[in-house]
Amino acid sequence: MNALPLVLTVFVACAVEAIEALTIVLAAGLTRQWRSTFQGMAAALIVLAAIVGVLGPTVTLLPLTALRLVIGALLAIFGLQWLRKAILRAAGYKALHDEASAYLREVAAAQAAPASSRRGISDWYAFTLAFKGVLLEGLEVVFIVITFGDNQRDLGAAVVGAAIAVVVVAATGVAVRAPLAKVPENALKFLVGIMLTSFGTFWGAEGAGVKWPGNDAALLVLVPVVAVISLGYAACLRRPHRADTAAGPQAPVSQAEGVSGL
């Protein structure tokens, strides 16, 4: 398979995560203190780099069939989780992800937290907020980089896609000094869910011993089919919504599902 789809998929998935991490870093830096925020961010990036450095090459040592079965299954499960949330958001059953309001929540919490220094860090709250934010969002990036990179036996291309995404988002964040609320994040999350589910299904089935018709070209059919069916599900769920809104809005299913918020 050409490295371009791999780089593009990893780029979009990582850009979404980087935007969420940027919101947290900006809230910590602009509200509290940049020095401790950068220290927290750097500590998280070192941990993430160590995970990629250790896990990436180790996972590559597994036989390709076993790798595709396990990683494909994990990726498909992970992708369906993204897709489920994206469809619920698109259909109006779950609140849309909004970086501007996420930023305001983080700022309010950061302003309310007392200042304290620990272990040579002058603002422990800013450090831990930046560390946790970058680490949690970064873990999803690491997961995607390792699964895509190792499955395609091209970890370098996956790392390049992720690095470009992080640099682009960070540079934009530095330039505008505000959360990237104008990026169509919910649409991107939908797209990422489609890609993760498609690749996970493709590799998982290959790992189980299947020979796809047309080999890698099957992905050119699988991705649009997953997209059309997912959009169809969203459209079907949206129809009753129109009748509901006529009667007045009610409580959503959930506005805070999952550890990462995806």
Partner: protein, 74 residues
């Protein structure tokens, strides 16, 4: 120590499996059946996993939205 291990396990469970474990269980079962069909029955069941993934997603969405209303934000 046990609490830390439990938190670690809970984090990874939530990270990979997420809100609906039944989707994961269905997908794993579909992979197992696919492997059995390929290796024991000699059937190239490439279609099985996508079909099961779509069915699992539809079932999960149906359960998530049953009897619920929307945010009115779509």
């Amino acid at each position: 120590m046990m609490r830390a291990l439990k938190s670690f396990g809970a984090f990874w469970y939530d990270f990979v499996i997420g809100d609906d474990w039944q989707v994961a269980a269905l997908l794993v079962a579909a992979l197992a059946v696919t492997a059995l069909l390929v290796h024991l029955a000699g059937v190239n069941a490439w279609w099985l996993l996508p079909v099961c993934a779509f069915a699992a997603l539809a079932w999960s969405l149906r359960r998530a939205t049953a009897g619920k209303s929307t945010t009115g934000k779509s």
